[in-house]
Amino acid sequence: MKQRFATEQSTIREAEAQQTPQVAARSASLKHPAWTQFKKNKPALVGVFLVLCVGFIALFAPFLAGDVPIVMRKDGQVYWFPNIITYASLTAENLYPNFDRWEPGEGEFALRPPVSYSPTRQNLRERLRPPGRDHWLGTDDRGRDVFSRLVWGARISMSVGFIAVGISVAIGVVIGALAGYYGGKVDTVILRVIEIWICIPAFFLIITVMAFLEPSIVNIMVVIGLTGWPGVARLVRGEFLKQKQQEYALAARASGLGDRRIIFRHLLPNALSPVFVSATFGVAGAILTESGLSFLGFGVPPPTASWGEILKQSQSYVDFAWWLVVFPGVAVFITVVSFNLVGDGLRDALDPRLRQ
């Protein structure tokens, strides 16, 4: 018997040696199976494109809209990017408040963003102008340019979406991981808390809480974030229950590694893909929630531009000022749909059962 094994071994070693390059070649095409699958999904790619567009607009809002110049030369001195330098430092340099409406004289210049209207400065002579050559998307009841407000509103929507979801994912991942990993009493208690939490209608809870808090964008992010974690926690718990039974997790435990190391180094990286999917949908949900809150007057404090806030202002003028309703509505719609398309695409790509 031993003889037979010994002679087989040498020939098999050669066979295995020849096998190696094949394995390497196969793995190259398998490198990103999720990405290969995602690329086939046209709506998801459109979603990614639109999300990137809105993200770009949000990120570069000061360069796209506003009355503060990007570069200016005044009194023989060149100022770079006053549009992103804080108002405080501008005031100190005695440039504020006339730098925005200031017109360059001889030997001076100012390069302003393409939409050169401030999102917040009122101009009562220009009230409720329909879309036209000066104001591409019209003006609101205080003469503010709608296009400029939409661009700056994208900042609010995107930052609320990502930060609120960031908060709920951070809380949900930790709580879900603890429940799934330790099981038993820890799990039971956490599950009951989640079930109670989920019974409370989130939107009304947020309205109630916001009624007591100062309306500020930070408060909105925190409150939306704090109501969103139970869903994430349930997802992570389920994934941990599955992953901790996998042999690699058992091997990690048999190696005598600490719980924290097993949870964060071994289980979490393998449990994250459904969290990504749900976070994408969560961003869309948070954007909708913020718009709803602002629409009801519990959102960002008034001069700040937010899509829901524009919609709220439009309520009294719905009869004739259609541009105040349609454009912010379309902005919310496109953004939310794009995130949902990306979420659908991610879910299909990351779920191996749906992979062909």
Partner: protein, 332 residues
């Protein structure tokens, strides 16, 4: 054999029962029944031994293995490693003793973290338990990879880039990284191609010699166990029914279950295979939730007597080296 006062591993009356979920009583479920996966197993392994555990699927082999490495908490009984009972250990105490007892799993596709490179997989236990870092750590990892026959240029690769046999070599290197005294191999070759099985088995045997480890080799493949193990334990439905030196148990099986198990091996020569008498045990293995009364094998035993359903036979000495749990062996 008795170089030490204590055998390296001594398992006494080990019982691992799993609760079957019953009705929900407010916050916790009251178990309706128990799966008696391992029920009263005793075994001893001396330093440097290779012990084989055989039995059909579902007989509790894997549960026994997982209990010995303490991935399962025993319901009752003791597991002594070098005289220290680890059956009831928990927390830090358990974590500190874990390096002594390492395990190799059945499925090399599942037993390696898909998001860790080979280097990290092998280095992590060394980093944690042996507190090595930097160059000392990497030379240790390279030495281990060399021992298991993996080229060191593979260290930065991920498990999915390897074949099954190569992955099992990585898993072996990871287990050896902690310099264990006891290596539990749970079906280490069952998921591999037949062509690769022999290499892994010979590698394990060579490493066992080199590191002077004690090894528990669990398999349903009788030929493999006979090849590698010196002493064999035959399991049926959570119990050990026969034990003895591998050659004797396989050449002259005493227990009726061992006999039927061995008869299930086909003979390579088709002429002989067709002409031999097949004794197929009646029915399916019974459920470990509700095992048969008396001898657990009696409903399927070809030599069952009326008394077998009443008396639960204990392991009894057959001769100097063998034990059998069947009172009729001598008369058969």
């Amino acid at each position: 054999m008795n170089r030490h006062p204590h055998p390296l591993l001594h398992v006494e009356n080990l019982r691992v029962w799993f609760p079957v979920k019953g009705r929900l009583a407010l916050v916790r479920r009251v178990p309706a029944a128990y799966v008696q996966a391992v029920d009263g197993v005793s075994l001893t392994a001396h330093s440097g031994d290779i012990i084989g555990v055989v039995g059909e699927s579902g007989c509790g082999k894997s549960t026994l293995a997982r209990a010995i490495v303490r991935l399962e908490t025993p319901t009752a009984g003791s597991i002594s490693v070098s005289g220290r009972d680890i059956a009831a250990m928990s927390g830090k105490e358990l974590r500190r003793i874990r390096p002594l007892i390492q395990m190799i799993f059945q499925d090399p596709y599942a037993s390696l973290n898909p998001r860790m490179t080979v280097f990290d997989a092998v280095a992590e236990p060394i980093r944690v338990h042996r507190r090595m870092t930097g160059r000392a750590l990497s030379s240790e990892v390279f030495a281990l990879m060399d021992k298991v026959g993996l080229a060191s240029r593979f260290v930065r690769k991920y498990p999915h880039e390897f074949s099954g046999g190569q992955r099992q070599r990585i898993a072996i290197a990871r287990a050896l990284a902690l310099q264990p005294q006891l290596l539990v191999a749970d079906e280490p070759v069952s998921a591999l191609d037949v062509s690769v099985q022999a290499q892994i088995i010979n590698l394990l045997a060579a490493l066992q010699q080199e590191f002077d480890m004690t090894m528990i080799f669990i398999s349903h493949d009788l030929g493999v166990v006979r090849h590698i193990a010196r002493r064999v334990f035959v399991m049926y439905l959570g119990r050990i029914v026969e034990t003895g030196p591998a050659a004797e148990v396989f050449d002259a099986p005493a227990h009726p279950y061992t006999q039927t198990l061995l008869q299930a091996i086909p003979i390579p020569d088709p002429e002989q295979e067709r002409s031999r008498v097949h004794v197929v045990p009646k029915g399916e293995p019974p459920s470990p939730i509700n095992p048969p009364s008396g001898c657990r094998f009696h409903p399927r035993c070809p030599k069952a007597q009326p008394s077998c359903s009443l008396n639960d036979p204990a392991l009894e000495r057959l001769d100097e080296v063998r034990e059998v749990a069947c009172p009729f062996v001598r008369r058969v």
